[in-house]
């Protein structure tokens, strides 16, 4: 990893490397989104589950609120809501 970092620091500003990295980072963003979307298939079919997922995405991704505040508010609410679920 450090070797890769050293190479990046040395050559990362070359137009050739920047072009390659532009393509790589666009794909990497797609990978993360795709894995997240794939995993939604494993979620329960319950509106509450989708509500908490959507709230977390919107607060952090779109509004860019701090992760700490979002997690500290959403996590207890989500856990409390799941507390009443029947055992699966």
């Amino acid at each position: 990893m450090i070797a890769l970092g050293a190479v990046y620091q040395r050559f990362g500003s070359l137009p050739f490397a920047q072009a390659a990295l532009r393509g790589m980072s666009a794909v990497a963003a797609g990978l993360v989104l795709a894995i997240g979307l794939k995993m939604t298939g494993g979620l329960q079919r319950h509106w509450r589950v989708w509500l908490f997922g959507a709230l977390a995405f919107f607060a952090v991704g779109v509004l860019r609120w701090p992760l700490l505040a979002v997690v500290l508010v959403l996590a207890p609410l989500a856990i409390a809501a799941a507390w009443r679920d029947p055992p699966s």
Partner: protein, 176 residues
């Protein structure tokens, strides 16, 4: 200018973040990005996205992007600080939780925590992907590449490394 104060500041911030990183190191992308790019201006949004992309290529866990971010900011001291901060607290926490789980498996609280945090984790992961896709000043070919990647990953079992390689080629030949 000594880089140690910067490495130390990075260490403290990441230490706090790693404790609340439900769902792993991908979910802290938004906060690390805001801290090192928007707040401290240590690196640019492009450098951050580059580090993330390279972290996907390197062998090993994909948390390696954090090592690379640390390295880009403050060299060796930054790399060590960032890595240690991301590894140690979750490792300790995991051991504690695993121990509690062994002592009393399948408790109602444990089940509620897993069921409650699952969707939040996914929402945060999608937020990370969203920020990686939109923080860099891309043009529409970049967004198309991101969209195509999503479709390919959802529909095939191709190795992600090939996709990243394809992205690199597309970039070099001027498509993206």
């Amino acid at each position: 200018v000594s880089r140690l104060p910067i490495a130390w500041a990075l260490f403290v911030r990441l230490l706090l973040l790693s404790l609340i990183a439900v769902g792993g190191v991908t979910t802290v992308v938004p906060d690390i990005q805001r801290y090192v790019v928007d707040a401290e201006h240590w690196i640019t949004a492009t450098q951050f996205a580059d580090a993330f992309a390279l972290g996907q290529v390197a062998p090993g866990p994909n948390m390696m992007y954090i090592t690379l971010v640390g390295w880009t900011i403050a060299g060796w001291s930054g790399a060590v600080a960032a890595t240690a901060a991301m590894v140690v607290p979750p490792a300790v926490l995991t051991l504690m939780v695993a121990r509690a789980n062994t002592l009393s498996p399948g408790t109602r609280l444990g089940r509620a925590i897993r069921a409650g945090l699952g969707p939040i984790t996914l929402g945060l992961m999608l937020a990370s992907g969203w920020i990686l896709a939109t923080s860099v000043d891309r043009h529409w070919p970049g967004y198309i590449a991101t969209a195509v990647t999503i479709v390919v990953v959802m529909r095939t079992r191709w190795n992600p490394l090939w996709l990243i390689a394809a992205g690199a080629v597309a970039g070099v030949v001027g498509l993206i």
